[in-house]
Amino acid sequence: MKATFRIWRQRGPHDAGGFVRYTVDDARPETTLLEELDRLNEGLVSRGEPPVAFDSDCREGICGACGIVVDGRPHGPLPGTTTCMLPLRAFRDGATITLEPLRTGAFPVVRDLVVDRGVLDRVVKAGGYVSVRAGSAPEANTIPVTRAAAERALDAAACIGCGACVAACPNGSAALFIGAKLRHLGLLPQGQPERARRTQALVAAADREPLGGCSLHGECEAVCPKGIGLDVIAAMNRDHLADTLAAWWRGA
């Protein structure tokens, strides 16, 4: 098939960027978009031109390294699909395919399609964990966990940290990402002792970063390749409100 790639090229964080067009007339619909980009890059390299920089590693939708805005949508047109799993057959023959980095104030562009998503790690560092030291864990079956809680926790823990939700949000909010982490740990008995503290800490950490507030647009849910829904944000807001009120009631 024929395809024209319109790709954002930007040498470094402080350089001006722009779109460059590359046309291929022998793309194969059964390959993935990133495989076609690999091929395009090999051609550029063998001609001595710098290849298009982009992040990707596992190529099976689990590591979260990839994340390209394809035709205006993070991870492209197919729902529930990471960029690395996007087949070319999702596009029509002769299509112009626009590739841009995840664009949001909190993710500075490093080069071409590569962005810095370090903000997501910084938010987790604020408290997105259970404080348990190696060696101090009780026997695994000591605390039963209902099957429903484990399954729902896993639904939230399926987040791959790709940052598509932040890039899709008109406010640049990371509420879906943070809500997913809080929901994962908040549904399990092991997460209860720190639940209130964790919620406060993550929300406060997000406030310190150049991330926007959530106004429930729902764009995040639409682009999440792992199907994480707005319910995790509702749960976060409920926990946050309940804890804030409780603190107020205690006179804190």
Partner: protein, 638 residues
């Protein structure tokens, strides 16, 4: 030259680790804060080690070449993690897990290490559950198990088909917790390019900041490598695109012995390659063999659709060859049996390189919903890639390079032949012998990181008298100069071929000559071909741009250059081992039934390679394996 003693304790096997822990000296809590440790890699082994060392009070710097520790390729492990909990009440025990792992590895691993791994397995699951890893549960709220290859008991804990991801998030969160305390400093997008050895001890490393291109010297009291395996050397493998051997190969070049480099596992259940420009191969978890039956048509060249082939015209080849274990034989046997039927012309799909994995019997027995509960995300991935629904049409699968049992040689304390250099997880060679059983890699990486290294590294630091080392010491300057020269050579060549082009060519050579089957003529020839390809690489490689910026092609070229050296050593190792064992199948050494024929008289040892003097080839040293607890037997899964 002789290999340092493995320093495994003697005496009753069940109390060896306990005795070693009692012998190891401890570092006082205030002194721990003065000890700096470098951890390279932030997958299961690296993240768990870095977090645990920090919990003990050491100061840790942890490097990853990814943008975040959560991307490490451990994330892609699907099926599960073994632990000798005996929750199934089906006769499991530490002894049985030890036995299965040692036999699964075809008696080419160190007894003491394997026993310790089995012993620690249960605590890993305890630790993960406490961290909030959402393992699958029974309706009563207790942990669920499934079966994996090479075992007759059900001891694998899992979180759907994404167990690696969930365990990695547990370790990643532990790392985040320790970053918050200031004990761990995370350095993302850094690649280790050389090891700094001072007075015979590992004291630091040279890393490249991948964003700015700056070279950095990091000095510490000890260096821990947890940089994964090198199956990516075949170009097409189940590993992540960036998985590489550079850290362990640089350490080898500085004198660390590399053990059994030729031991590479081909995983039987992967999606077959569909095109020449395919970037990698996709794994379909071994857990599918719990419910899936492997078959091919009995008649060669049978092109009917799978559902049109009547039952009597199907060859369930694993059930036929191995009636006792059936579809749950270890991976090496499964892959080789699949290759054998394909070599008979009975393979299916394009090029006849695949076999069917058929879930129809399980669908009838358990219903579709139960199967989707167990393997939902795998089915989605399969359908996404192939367009077929595995519950309607049998899946097509084929073997692919997946895991390297070979790696840097370590003693019982996980220390390499360079004092102060510790190696964890897939990067070391230790516990899986000539074949790793499914669901054992996660177990080993986490045992190394949470429960072994924190003790043994402390013992080393307590006993070592370490003089202060300056960042600009002669050894660090020399290592830095070596790195600079190499980067400059890569950039200066300005040839006509991309590094990936060379990588693909290397992969084809190794796949054919040092893959599922090896032979003396094939290996002899390929050693020359790899050397010629390496020469061609340095003549004709093209790396655009410069080194003072994010330059992914420069990263790639550096890794391929190392693969081109390691590839030759892999083949030399495979050539020197004149026997068949586990994954290493030399066609000259097989039984009448086409099974591997070990030679315990001559080859009951670990082969550890060290670089020779300048101008000389590498030297093969030997660690004899003693089996006191379990006498080596012929593996029997029939």
């Amino acid at each position: 030259m002789t290999l340092r003693d493995a320093a495994a304790p003697s005496g009753p096997i069940a109390s060896r680790w306990e005795r070693r822990r009692a012998e190891l000296e401890l570092v006082g809590p205030t002194r721990r804060r003065q000890h700096h440790v470098l951890v390279v890699g932030a997958g299961l082994a690296g993240a768990s080690a870095a977090a645990t060392l920090s919990e003990l009070g050491h100061r840790v710097r942890c490097l990853t070449f990814h943008d975040s520790p959560r991307r490490a390729h451990s994330v892609a492990a699907q099926g599960g993690i073994n632990a000798a909990k005996n929750y199934g009440n089906d006769g499991d025990s530490v002894e049985r897990l030890f036995h299965d792992t040692l036999e699964g590895g075809d008696f080419r691993s160190r007894e003491s290490n394997v026993y310790r791994l089995a012993e620690l397995s249960a605590r890993i699951v305890d630790q993960a559950v406490a961290q909030g890893v959402p393992f699958a549960r029974e309706y009563g709220g207790h942990l669920a198990n499934r079966s994996f290859g090479g075992a007759l008991v059900s001891r694998t804990f899992y979180a759907r088909g994404q167990t690696g991801q969930q365990l990695l998030l547990g370790a990643y969160q532990a790392l985040a917790k320790e970053e918050a305390t200031g004990g761990v400093t995370m350095l993302a997008r850094r690649e280790m390019l050389d090891l700094v050895v001072v007075d015979g001890r590992a004291r630091g490393l040279i890393a490249r900041d991948l964003v700015s291109g700056t070279l950095e010297t990091h000095i510490a009291d000890a260096v821990v490598l947890a940089t994964g395996g090198y199956a990516n050397i075949y170009f097409l493998s189940t590993n992540g695109k960036a998985s590489n051997a550079t850290a362990i190969w640089r350490a080898y070049r500085r004198g660390a012995a590399l053990a059994n480099p030729g031991f590479v596992q081909f995983h039987p259940t992967c999606l077959p390659a569909a095109s020449e420009h395919q970037a990698k191969l996709t794994l379909m978890s071994e857990s599918l063999r719990n419910d899936g039956r492997l078959w091919v048509p009995i008649r060669p060249g049978d092109d009917r659709r799978p559902n049109d082939v009547p039952e009597v015209e199907r060859d369930y080849f694993l059930e036929r060859r191995y009636p006792r274990y059936g579809n749950l034989v270890p991976r090496d046997l499964g892959s080789r049996a699949a290759k054998a039927v394909c070599d008979d012309g009975r393979g299916v799909g394009p090029g006849r390189r695949a076999v069917y994995l058929d879930l129809s019997e399980a669908t009838e027995r358990l219903g579709e919903d139960a199967l989707r509960d167990r393997y939902g995300n795998l089915f989605q991935m399969y359908e996404h890639i192939t367009g077929d629904d595995p519950l309607r049409i049998p899946m097509r699968i084929a073997p692919a390079p997946h895991y390297t049992m070979g790696g840097l040689w370590v003693d019982y304390d996980l220390m390499s032949t360079i004092p102060g250099l510790f190696v964890l997880g897939e990067a070391n060679f230790s516990d899986h012998g000539a074949n790793r059983l499914g669901a054992s890699a996660l177990m080993q990486g986490l045992a190394d990181g949470y429960f072994i290294l924190p003790y043994t590294l402390g013992g080393y630091l307590a006993g070592a008298r370490l003089a202060p080392v300056a960042e600009d010491c002669a050894e660090a300057r020399a290592a830095r100069a070596t790195v600079e020269t190499r980067l400059h050579r890569l950039l200066a060549r300005q040839g006509r071929r991309s590094a990936s082009d060379f990588h693909r060519a290397l992969g084809r050579l190794l796949w054919d000559a040092c893959g599922l089957e090896r032979s003396r003529p094939g290996l002899t020839k390929v050693i020359e071909e790899v050397a010629a390809l390496r020469d061609a690489f340095w003549e004709d490689v093209m790396v655009p741009g410069d080194g003072r910026e994010l330059n992914q092609e420069l990263e790639r070229a550096g890794r391929v250059a190392d693969f081109l050296e390691l590839g030759e050593l892999m083949c030399r190792d495979a050539l020197a081992r004149e026997e068949s064992c586990g994954c290493h199948f030399r066609v000259e050494h097989q039984t009448e039934d086409g099974e591997a024929r070990r030679d315990d008289q001559v080859f009951s040892h670990v082969a550890a390679w060290v670089p020779g003097a300048p101008g000389r080839g590498s030297e093969r040293l030997v660690e004899p394996l003693a089996f006191e607890t379990m006498a080596p037997s012929e593996r029997s899964y029939r």
